[in-house]
């Protein structure tokens, strides 16, 4: 008996999870399929974590509209979904007089895009606001609506809220093809079977081009991965409290030096166009490029305080802007195509994709409504996804109460970041269960400190094995194929 869904979403990144969350508000069966072992394992968890103000995208583009609309939705969303978010505000910093006109141009562009709360500040003011900034700064654009978040938390929170409201999530489920009846899409074929649905929504990120081509849609649309490499710094040795952008170039927004909500300063990304959509390797040249860019903004930054590197691949697409008179070939595709029925097609959702995600979700619901969908609100829809305790952020008094309530919160597993067994267990048994080491790491920030898992790794493997009822030999870092242990020494039991 084949289950029939109303909406099938391909891809569990931040956009897919937001879509699921928006759609789960209404009557109708929602299915979200994700090929990896967890949601948000692509670009959604490997970015600069910025909620952009919206001065950067070209006026008239879909990117600009989604960015500004999305930005305004974050306060409510953070309140409802209980993820970490702060309107820290951002600076686009001009180094040297030559760069100042470019910053003014961004201000104008922002005004055209309808971005509120922007201000131009001069060199001395910029130096006062950020004492580590390159003293050659000639001024900056200050955009007060810019924010920072934990992008993975956002993704999983949206996904959990969708699941709590009845959406079904299937991990380790990879889209293979559409099931069609003539020109109508009636479902999807995956590595775990066929699923029927009235509408299929393509939010497959870096693979969105390959997905749409399977339906014969936009054969000329191509996604090229744009690799961005990052440094993460030790929070005890490097503390930049601001979000610092350089002046943008043709390559993009440039290499930032920014604070994060984990209090680690990060630097990055560069932007190298590559071919391999699975190539998340760091490179010597790429990291050197990031170092150069970072040192231009903050000359005193010392690379020896770096504790980790990571890579994000942005899905850069060649979608044309649909606004008449605007010549732009890197715009978002958010549409219901005419060539086939039953498809909502998203493509090229790179930066400002994270910021735009809630706006995109709302846009898709509007588009579906315009296409004749009758959305009836669920009576028992709960917009709130409750937060879970974060021991590390709690006062001594609150920690005491928490541990009294559940002693497992007293057992500290990650020494550097103060993550407890209680929190790990809570994530393993959450609405979207964390079943791998990396899944726990993304949710709790465990293993991201100075020792990079040196103390916690063996203990987390033991906890996962116990809580999931599997052998330690089956515990993985990021899904099948990434197991930790090969066999027991001496064939021991237990």
């Amino acid at each position: 008996m084949q289950e029939k869904y109303d909406y099938i979403i391909i891809g569990g990144g931040v956009v897919g999870c937001m879509l699921a969350r928006w759609l789960s508000r209404y009557e109708g069966k929602v299915l979200l399929i994700e090929k990896e072992a967890d949601v948000g394992m692509g670009c959604s968890s490997a970015n600069t974590a910025i909620v952009h103000a919206g001065y950067d995208p070209l006026p008239g583009s879909l990117k600009a509209r989604m960015n500004v609309k999305g930005n305004a939705m974050w306060d409510t969303l953070a309140g409802e979904l209980n993820f970490a978010f702060e309107r820290r505000g951002d600076y686009v910093v001009a180094i040297g007089d030559d760069e100042l006109p470019l910053v003014h141009k961004l201000m104008d562009q922002g005004k055209q895009n309808g971005v509120p709360g922007m201000l131009m500040i001069d060199g001395p003011e910029m130096r006062a606001r950020e004492k580590h900034i390159n003293p050659e700064t000639s001024g900056a654009l200050w955009a007060s609506t810019g924010g920072i978040c934990d992008p993975f938390q956002v993704t999983v929170a949206a996904g959990e809220n969708a699941v709590m409201n009845g959406a079904k999530l299937l991990l380790n489920t990879a889209f293979q093809d559409f099931i069609m009846e003539g020109k109508r899409i009636i479902g999807v074929r995956t590595n775990r079977g066929d699923f029927l649905g009235r509408w299929v929504i393509n939010s497959a990120g870096i693979y969105s081009d390959e997905v749409m081509h399977k339906a014969g849609v936009r054969p000329e649309f191509i996604i090229k991965p744009r690799k961005g490499e990052y440094y993460i710094f030790d929070r005890a040795d490097v503390s930049i409290d601001n979000v610092l952008f350089p002046v943008p170039s043709h390559k993009g927004k440039g290499i930032l030096v920014t604070t994060t909500l984990h209090e680690n300063t990060i630097a990055g990304p560069n932007g190298t166009i590559i071919d391999d959509k699975e190539d998340t390797s760091t490179t010597k040249e790429g990291l050197a490029e990031v170092a150069d860019g970072a040192l231009k903004l903050v000359p005193s930054l010392n690379l020896r305080y770096s504790i980790a590197n990571f890579v994000g691949l942005r899905p850069m697409g060649n979608g044309p802007c649909k606004t008449p008179g605007v010549v732009y070939n890197n715009d978002y595709i958010i549409e219901i195509p005419e060539e086939v029925q039953g498809l909502v097609n998203l493509g090229g959702i790179e930066s400002p994709g994270l910021t735009s995600a809630p706006a995109i979700a709302e846009e898709v619901v509007d588009m579906l409504r315009d296409a004749g969908e009758k959305f009836v609100a669920k009576k028992d829809w709960d917009p709130i996804r409750p937060g879970r305790p974060r021991f590390r952020n709690m006062s001594h008094k609150d920690r005491q109460l928490l541990v009294e309530m559940d002693p497992r919160f007293g057992q500290v597993i990650c020494r550097c970041e103060n993550i407890t067994e209680g929190e790990i267990i809570a994530e393993i048994h959450a609405p979207i269960p964390a079943r791998t080491y990396d899944a726990i790491k993304r949710r709790t920030w465990l293993g991201t400190g100075r020792c990079q898992g040196g103390f916690d790794m063996t203990r987390v493997v033991t906890i996962l094995s116990r809580e999931l009822g599997i052998s330690p030999l089956e515990v993985t870092k990021r899904g099948t194929g990434s197991e930790y242990l090969f066999r027991q020494t001496k064939q021991v039991e237990g």
Binding site: Q488, T489, K490, Q491, V492, E493, G494
Partner: protein, 123 residues
């Protein structure tokens, strides 16, 4: 036919590079040593090299699944693989007391294998 054998002395942390002139298994001369210990080491190493062996054995019902063990004296180097194989067959029951014998007279060497630590029973 005389031949030269080179190796590093491990009698003390200094690690002198020794050169031993040998013929028919007999040591003709030693150079490179800074002290008498090096001379003794060279003689021992060329005639009867020995090593301490440390590994683990399975322990039933113990606080941990493995008990670390060690040879109370160095065993002949060529015998190490067989010594390890013999020790691998040993399984002990918790609780165990430090320095108790887990394998007596391994392979007839007269050397016992001892528990490196005490280990209580589980729970």
């Amino acid at each position: 036919m005389a031949e030269e054998v080179n190796f590093i002395c491990t009698a003390c942390p200094q690690g002198c590079s020794l050169t031993v002139l040998m013929e028919n298994g007999e040591v003709l001369g030693v150079t490179g040593n800074s002290c008498k210990k090096g001379l003794d080491y060279a003689n021992a190493e060329t005639s009867d090299p020995r090593r301490m062996v440390a590994t683990t054995v399975k322990i039933h019902n113990g606080f941990h699944p493995l008990l670390p063990v060690y040879t109370e004296r160095p065993v002949p180097k060529p015998m190490i693989p067989q010594v390890l194989a013999e020790i691998r067959k040993v399984e002990v029951e918790a609780p165990v007391v430090m320095k108790s014998v887990v394998l007596e007279n391994v392979l007839g060497t007269g050397i016992n294998v001892l528990a490196s630590r005490s280990m209580p029973a589980k729970g």
